[in-house]
Amino acid sequence: MSISDDMLMAYADGEFDKPEFASERNAVEMAIASDPELALRVERFRSQRRDLGSLYAEVLEEPVPEPLLNAARAQPREAATVTDLAQARSAKKASGAASSVAGTTAAAAGKLRPWFAIAASVIVGVLVGHYALVSQGAGPIAVNGASLLAQSSLRQALSDQLTADQSHTAAVQIGLSFRSKSGQYCRTFTLEQREPLSGLACHQGADWRIDALAPAETAGNAGTAYRPAVSALPAAVRAAVEDQMASEPLDAQGEAQAKRAGWQ
């Protein structure tokens, strides 16, 4: 049995210590017993591993910053909702903890946030009223307590419409679909009407909960944009997407699968 460098490395890393790898272990040990060159390779891997043990030793020795200790001890929050996010942000600001990983770029991104934070209350009072979205319960959006739920044509489009075969003339255009950090499926949409609205809806129970809503960008072709890039969405919606997206957007196949699974 010839011994590859990968096998020597795995041996040095203790990968063959388990009984099920006894034959690999034997093979390596026989080989290094008869070939000093191989024995040196193994020793080299081991010494590299020993040296790396001191990597960032200073980080281990530093006292852990207070905000992290507090974060580890914090009471778990409920899955992110519009209100919770806004609260979490102001709480974070109040505690003086850095509010985002992004350092300088966070400051710029932060410019998007106030919009989003006020969106929940503003949506109900202004947008919904202005756009007559909840006219006698027949519009695309229903108000349910503090949350907004998709209904009628919007609900149907969110549940049924795949971007791969949606018509450019459909009254609701679906944009990105993705899994949120709390594991829900979310989709961005644009309501094509005289004054188009874009938003983000996440599937919750049997409903689509509207997490963000704002007048669509009027970048000329916004109304007919097919699968708009995140950057083509209104800032409030884009911020919500960035906050919630856990991984890459779904591709056509992923979307079809999610639909078959009832967006669960």
């Binding site: 990968d6 040296d51 914090a74 899955a79 903890a97 709390s182």
Partner: protein, 168 residues
């Protein structure tokens, strides 16, 4: 569930130095690393029910940090499209100035590795996870972990000019 919340939180506190080290190796930036750990802690506490009692809490947390970093890198890319090049450039310069100019130490050499290699090397060679455990954290096949470690090791040797051990 055999662990109470406060017991798990005790374990999290005990893990913090290692979580900070992993985050530091990913971000190569002090403040970014701590923000990343903070994000991961919040996410972990929000979905504690997804952690299977009996499985390693450290591996689970490494996985959450890994995913949070992927999100962060993606978000930065999206933001950078919006930002002016100047603003984006400031951040990069800021990160670079953190690293003192010095002869190539093991740490400096490590920071030259690409992100995938840094993660695999740190989890296996520094944290002592098995290839299989690291594969679980990174959500890749074991063979991928093994080849990232092999490439990482080669690069380190090359960067340090075979100084370590001095055998060749």
């Amino acid at each position: 569930m055999s662990h109470s919340l406060s017991q798990v939180q005790d374990q999290l506190v005990a893990l913090l130095p290692r979580l900070r080290r992993f985050a530091r190796s990913l971000t190569r930036h002090h403040a970014d690393a701590d923000d990343l750990v903070q994000t991961a802690l919040e996410r972990a506490l929000m979905r504690l029910e997804q952690w299977q009692t009996g499985s390693r809490l450290d591996s689970w947390m490494f996985g959450i940090i890994h995913n949070a970093w992927i999100d962060e890198v993606r978000a930065r890319r999206r933001r950078d499209r919006v930002l002016t090049a100047q603003e984006a450039g400031e951040h990069i310069a800021d990160a670079a100035s953190e690293a003192p100019i010095q002869r190539l130490s093991l740490q400096a050499a490590f920071e030259q590795l690409d992100e995938e290699q840094r993660e695999a090397v740190l989890l296996v060679l520094v944290e002592g996870l098995s290839y299989k455990e690291a594969a679980g954290v990174l959500n890749v096949p074991i063979g991928t972990v093994s080849s990232r470690i092999a490439r990482g090791r080669e690069s380190l040797e090359a960067l340090l000019g075979g100084r370590e051990g001095g055998l060749r």
